[in-house]
Every structure is written in C-alpha cells, then in structure tokens.
C-alpha cells in the first residue's frame, strides 16, 4: 500500500499501544506488589516473595468470595445479555410507538446513583416482606448491567443493514431462522461485548452488592471493602495476579475458537 496510509496506520498503532500501556499500569503495579515482601508498595521494592500466594491458597474466605463473584458474574451476564438482546431487537427492528422513551427507561438504571438504587430496592422488598437472597443480588446485578448490553447491542444493530435480513426472508426463511442464521451472527461481536460488560461490571460491583448480599454471601469486592478499616491484605494483589494469568490464558483459547469460527463463516 502507499506510504501515506502506512504512516497514518503507524500513528494509530503507536497511539493504541500508549493507551494499552495506560490501561495496564495499575495491573502492572498490582502484579508487582503481589510479589513484594513487605505490605506496602514503596518503590523501589524491597524484596521478592511468594508469601502472599501461599497465604491466599490457604484463605478459604477469599477463595469462597472469588467463587461467588464468578458464579454471580456469569449468571448476570447470561440473563442480562438475553434480556438486552431481545429488547434491542424490538427497539431497532420494529416500529415501536415511543421507542425513544422506552430506550431511556431501559437505560435508567445507570442514571440513578447506585446507593439510591440499592436502598430503594431494599425498601421495596421490605414492603413486600421478602428476605434478601442470592436471587435478589442477582436481580440487582441484572438491572444495572442491562443498560450496558442494550447500548452496545443497539449501536451494532443499527449498523447491520435490514436488506440482508429481508433478502433471507424473501428466500423463504422464517423470522426465527433469519434471526439465528443472519442477524445473530452479524451482531455476535456486540452480544459478546455486552456479555463481557455485564460480567465485569457484576464482578467489580461494590455498592449494590453491599446492600443486597444476604448473610454469609461475600463477593471479592465486599471482602476487600471489609478489610479497608484494618488494611487490605496483599493476598488481594495475589488474587489479582492469579486472575490476570488466568485471563491471559483464556483469550488465547478464545483466539483459537474465534479463528476457527471465522474460517467456517468464510469472512
């Protein structure tokens, strides 16, 4: 290709690399500190040690919280993405009276400060006489991850041309067939992005979780929050490192799958 393009591309790539470095700075710090011998993160570091990993492996409370967070995140992603995709389809693919207003309503959960949402929901449940449960916690997480899914899926759906779907229909495909064979594959990146949003936001949520969690249920953020008064144990850094190592492995796996899928669909 011509050099002008390459220069522009080089600039863009350089910029993206800088952005990635910015995003990774805190990650790097946390990973480094998980090997730090002392408890506080003064630079330059004073010693190297695996002790926080050893302590983490023996800390049943943190590991249990970690499992709860993962399960909660996965369930939230599943439910929230399903609801979000259905709603986005309705809003973009059909002529719905008052679509703008409905869109706003569905995005409303992120407009309300989370503290308020948390207290409001509790007041309502008290009124009904319903006890806190894992189901309530899950429902709360679904509510405030839903807007993320809807926003990202809508934006993608808008850019998928109606013609393709209509062509499929005119060739005799049913609406359901059209959805699964044409529309869904085309909007897959948005569905996955929405699910990723939902999972990470649920995994990382603190305020709502504090209020909605039933007794005996702790997530990683609430565990950390409860440690704040006395001092956060570097075991949390070790947990972060373990997660990073795991997720660097996962994308590699994902890459293989994505490549296989791309080959099959022929794009």
């Amino acid at each position: 290709m011509e050099t002008r393009f390459n220069m522009g591309w080089t600039l863009i790539r350089g910029w993206a690399v800088l952005v990635y470095i910015f995003m990774f700075l805190p990650v790097a710090v946390v990973v480094l500190l998980s090997f730090n011998a002392s408890q506080f993160g003064n630079f330059p570091m004073t010693g190297f040690s695996f002790r926080w990993f050893v302590e983490l492996a023996g800390n049943e409370a943190i590991l249990r919280a970690f499992r709860t967070s993962i399960i909660l995140g996965l369930l939230t992603a599943l439910i929230s993405t399903t609801l979000g995709v259905l709603a986005s389809l309705a809003l973009v693919r059909y002529r719905v009276p008052g679509a703008n207003a409905i869109s706003t309503l569905l995005i409303a959960p992120i407009l309300v400060p989370e503290v308020v949402l948390a207290v409001a929901l509790l007041l309502f449940l008290n009124f009904l006489g319903v006890n806190k449960s894992f189901g309530l916690l899950l429902a709360g997480h679904v509510i405030f991850t839903l807007p993320f899914v809807i926003l990202v899926v809508q934006a993608r759906l808008v850019s998928i041309k109606r013609d393709v779907e209509e062509a499929a229909m005119s060739l005799g495909a049913s609406p359901v067939q059209t959805f699964f064979q044409i529309t869904l594959p085309l909007m897959m990146p948005a569905v996955l992005a929405g699910a990723l949003f939902a999972f990470t936001i649920s995994f990382d949520d603190i305020t709502g979780t504090l209020f909605w969690k039933p007794g005996g249920v702790e997530t990683v953020p609430t565990q950390i929050f409860a440690m704040l008064r006395n001092s956060i144990s570097p075991e949390i850094n070790a947990l972060g490192t373990v997660m990073i190592v795991m997720t660097v492995g996962l994308p590699l796996l994902g890459a293989v799958i994505a490549r296989a899928m791309a080959r099959k669909s022929g794009t």
């Binding site: 393009f5 522009g8 910029w15 993206a16 952005v19 990635y20 910015f22 995003m23 990650v27 710090v29 993160g41 630079f43 330059p44 609801l83 709603a87 309705a90 703008n100 706003t104 569905l106 995005i107 992120i110 407009l111 309300v112 989370e114 503290v115 308020v116 207290v119 409001a120 929901l121 007041l123 309502f124 009124f127 429902a139 709360g140 839903l146 809807i150 926003l151 934006a155 993608r156 808008v158 850019s159 990146p189 992005a193 990470t200 995994f203 990382d204 603190i206 953020p221 950390i224 929050f225 949390i236 850094n237 972060g240 990073i244 997720t247 994308p251 590699l252 994902g254 994505a258 490549r259």
Partner: protein, 288 residues
C-alpha cells in the same frame, strides 16, 4: 390484517422481559424514593411521613448543591472527551488490525479483574511521592525532589478515564467492526484520499458507537463517588458523594432521595437528547 397485528405485538413480546425487570426492580422502588423525598428527617434520626417540600426546596435553591452539580457535569464532560480522544484511534486500531480482535478486546477488560478499589488505590503506588513514577524520574536524574502529583481534580479525572475508557473503546469498536471496509475502498477508488474516505464514510457510520460510548462515560462518570474519595483532595467531591453522604453518613434518606432524583432528572434529560440524536443517525444511514 392479522399478520400486521402480530407484527405489532412482536416487539412488545421481545421487550416485555426487560421492561418487567426494570419496572419491578427500578421504577417501583424509585416510587418509594419519590415518596421518601417528601418526608422529613428529625433531629433524633427518625423519619416523619408526610408531604413536606423542605428537601426539594433545599436541593433546588441551595447554591451548594448547584455548584457541585455543575462541577460534576464538567468533570464528567472532560472525562468523556478524554475517553473519546484516547479511545477512538484505539478502537479503530483494534477493528482494522490483522491480529486477533477478541484478544485485544479482552486485554482491554483485564484491569477490571482487579477490584475497583484496588485499581484506584494503585494510582497511589504509581503517582505518589514514593511511587513508581517519582522514583523513576529521580533515578534518571530528571528531578531531585519528588513531585506532589496526587489528590487533585486531575487525578480524579485520570482515575475516571482509566475506569471508563474500556466502555468507550468497546462501543466504538462494535460500530466500526460492523462497517463494510469495501465502502472505504470504494471511496478510495473514486479518488478520495484515505483521510477523506475516513471522514466521509467511516466516521459518520461509527457515530452511533461513539455516541453510545460517550453517553456511558458521561453518565457513569457523573455518578461515581469512590474515585473522588480515593484520588481527590479535600475539595474534589462530586454529586454522588453528596447523595452517599446524605443517605449513608447522615442517614437523611428524605434529602438523599430528593438529591438523587435531581441527578436522575438531569442525566435523564441528557439521555433523551442522546436518543433523539441516535434516531437521527439511524435516519441518515437509511438515506445513505
């Protein structure tokens, strides 16, 4: 006729689960908050039921709340612009790169595996007087005394950008990825330069994603309270901090309710504007 009727019913079937969830778990509870905003908190801490306008009067007329609301919107706007400037080229890079896009996107979400509080506090290890940046600069001999970088509005915005940038990038990426690259090529073959093709074809088509990302960044930025608590100085509070303090610290739920409804109204108005805009973008696409 019956086909049309079915056609008209379908979207409501698709919408009903999401609408039911939002109604039950958000709007009905918000009605409680609305009712609460007309109650009064007494000095002993108990709430008096009734219809008092005191909280609303305080929330709407006191310059304290107005000032902080304005400064919150300003910080959210700066954050959004910074995210757009940093995010667009990155999203473009991911969408057009030959490498694996899924990996690049997942890498972007990696910082989220480290809990928000820890992530935010880790900036202290980076920018603090004995943090990584100051020690590096001193080791290189660029400075002799550590620079005080933390605990001001800039660090609050930095923390917010770090938190929100992935949302921006993912939204833009999803839009860009849906654009047929043949369109750009076609524009090129018609004599447009790469830059012109980008401005006239790619950028307009990716606007819905940019707008969605911008909306998310703005709204989430305006609603945070932990980042200013951890990275801000004494004066760097945002509106959600006021809500948090009213509800949690002062246990003044009536006032907290009024304040949060006020924030909700402002942000809700912005979303209405956004939705109208997105509607226009849709129309333009239909024409083109």
């Amino acid at each position: 006729m019956s086909v049309e009727k079915r056609e008209a019913r379908q979207p409501w079937i698709l919408l009903s689960p999401a609408l039911t969830a939002v109604t039950l778990l958000l709007f009905v509870p918000l009605l409680f908050i609305l009712v609460y905003s007309f109650w009064l908190r007494t000095a002993t801490g108990a709430d008096v039921a009734g219809f008092y306008l005191d909280n609303w009067q305080e929330a709407l007329t006191d310059p304290f709340y107005r000032d902080i609301l304005i400064s919150t919107l300003r910080i959210a706007a700066i954050t959004t612009v910074a995210c757009a400037v940093m995010g667009y080229p990155s999203a473009y890079f991911i969408a057009r790169s030959q490498g694996n896009k899924a990996v690049l996107l997942l890498l972007l979400m990696l910082p989220f595996w480290i809990s928000y509080i820890i992530r935010t506090m880790s900036w202290i290890n980076i920018l603090g007087v004995s943090g990584a940046l100051n020690s590096a600069l001193m080791a290189l001999g660029i400075i002799s005394e550590p620079i005080q970088m933390l605990y001001n509005e800039v660090t609050v915005i930095l923390g917010l950008v770090h938190f929100l940038l992935p949302f921006m990038i993912l939204n833009i990426f999803v839009s860009l990825d849906g654009i047929d690259t043949n369109l750009e090529n076609a524009a090129n073959s018609l004599g447009a330069t790469k830059w012109q093709a980008f401005l006239q074809v790619t950028l307009p088509l990716s606007l819905p994603g940019l707008a969605a990302g911008g909306l998310l960044c703005f709204v989430l930025g305006a609603g945070t309270y932990i980042t200013p608590l951890v990275l801000g100085g004494p004066r760097d509070a945002m509106f959600a901090n006021l809500v948090f303090e009213a509800i949690i610290t002062q246990l003044n739920w009536p006032l907290g309710s009024a304040l949060s409804l006020m924030l909700l109204a402002v942000l809700g108005a912005l979303v209405m504007i956004y939705n109208r805009y997105l509607g226009m973008a849709q129309l333009m696409k239909g024409l083109g």
